[in-house]
Amino acid sequence: MFRIDFNKLRFLVCDDNPHMRRILRTLLHSFGAREVYESEDGATALEMYSHYVPDIVITDWSMPIFDGLELAQMIRQPESKGNPFAPIIMLTGHSEKRRVTVARDAGVTEFLAKPISAKGLYQRILNVVANPRPFIKTKTYFGPDRRRNTANAYIGPERRIGGEVEVLQQPSLLDKARTSV
């Protein structure tokens, strides 16, 4: 059985609702987190993301001006100086399946529908810490592999094509982002 050392994790929480931020802060501190940075809008969150280099981002979707979806899209810029790989947990009142698909296509790692529960939040955090997915870069997408089913039996029109042609090794972008801070 595994536990997370929350005191070694740095969180960025973005929600325009102060009550929800308080609840999230309470839950994360109870889990053992010490570093929880908070933002009430996406634009400030993006600045804080670059400044604090959080390990995990938890964001609401619906916010004025610059929402959580746009925040995810801005973080998932493969050419940016920051870390484009940080896990993003979208915590939202949206509860329709099509919203999950839209969030997934913006590069969100996990989706957690409100109402929030301690168990639900813990499980999402455990999942992004213990089971990170490889990242996929295509012409139109950069983010965690959207296919959680690892079976290769799918042969439909959206099947990725092409055999493996080369494998490149380069320094971790996460380390690069951290050393540039």
Partner: protein, 192 residues
């Protein structure tokens, strides 16, 4: 924080995509514990949340006041981009927060209101009573919660409003299949 200096990114290049794998940078925050480990972070967090619950009624009242103010702005100025967005956001916050605050029926009523705002083709043509009844129901559920027998009444009120709203939305979206599909699709949130 969780940092592994020796990590490298591996990029596998295919015809139409790249697969980028890096050693798990958060691996070091995981620690193995015995099955009998008594520390339960979830129970600890639930206890801390319960400690906050004394504030929930005031928080819910503040959310309901915000919704009422947003509705008043709609009545005063009509549905503009700003008034529509504020009404939606106020309802959407209640939809997401109310169950946590102990007002699940207020959350369900707010969800029904969100669906009206999101899927009605023309908000100016939505019967004003339909929106007003949702707002009033949420106010009543929040105000009257402490009285006996209100939980079942609140639940019934919420269910009835949702039925009326869904019937209206199904009718006005009969020629808009993408909205109709969204209206009829089940929620991903498990039922209570």
């Amino acid at each position: 924080m969780a940092k592994d200096k020796s990590s490298t990114v591996q990029i596998q290049t295919y015809a139409d995509h790249h697969v980028i794998t890096q050693p798990n940078p958060l691996r070091k925050v995981l620690r193995r514990v015995a099955e009998k480990d008594l520390d339960d972070p979830v129970a600890r967090a639930e206890k801390a949340l319960a400690g906050l619950s004394g504030e929930f009624k005031n928080w819910m009242a503040a959310e309901a006041d915000r919704l009422a103010a947003a509705h008043a702005a709609v009545l005063r100025d009509g549905f503009t981009k700003a008034t529509r967005e504020e009404l939606f956001r106020a309802a959407h916050d209640i939809k997401g927060d109310a169950a946590t605050f102990g007002f699940p029926s207020a959350g369900a009523t707010a969800e029904s209101l969100c669906r009206i705002i999101e899927h009605a083709p023309d908000l100016d043509k939505v019967p004003s009573d339909l929106i007003a009844h949702h707002i009033n129901a949420i106010q009543a559920i929040v105000r009257e919660r402490t009285k006996l027998d209100t939980a079942s009444m609140a639940s019934e009120l919420s269910r009835q409003l949702r039925g009326v709203a869904d019937e209206y939305l199904a009718d006005v979206n009969r020629d808009r299949p993408e909205h109709l599909e969204a209206i009829l699709a089940p929620s991903i949130v498990p039922a209570e």
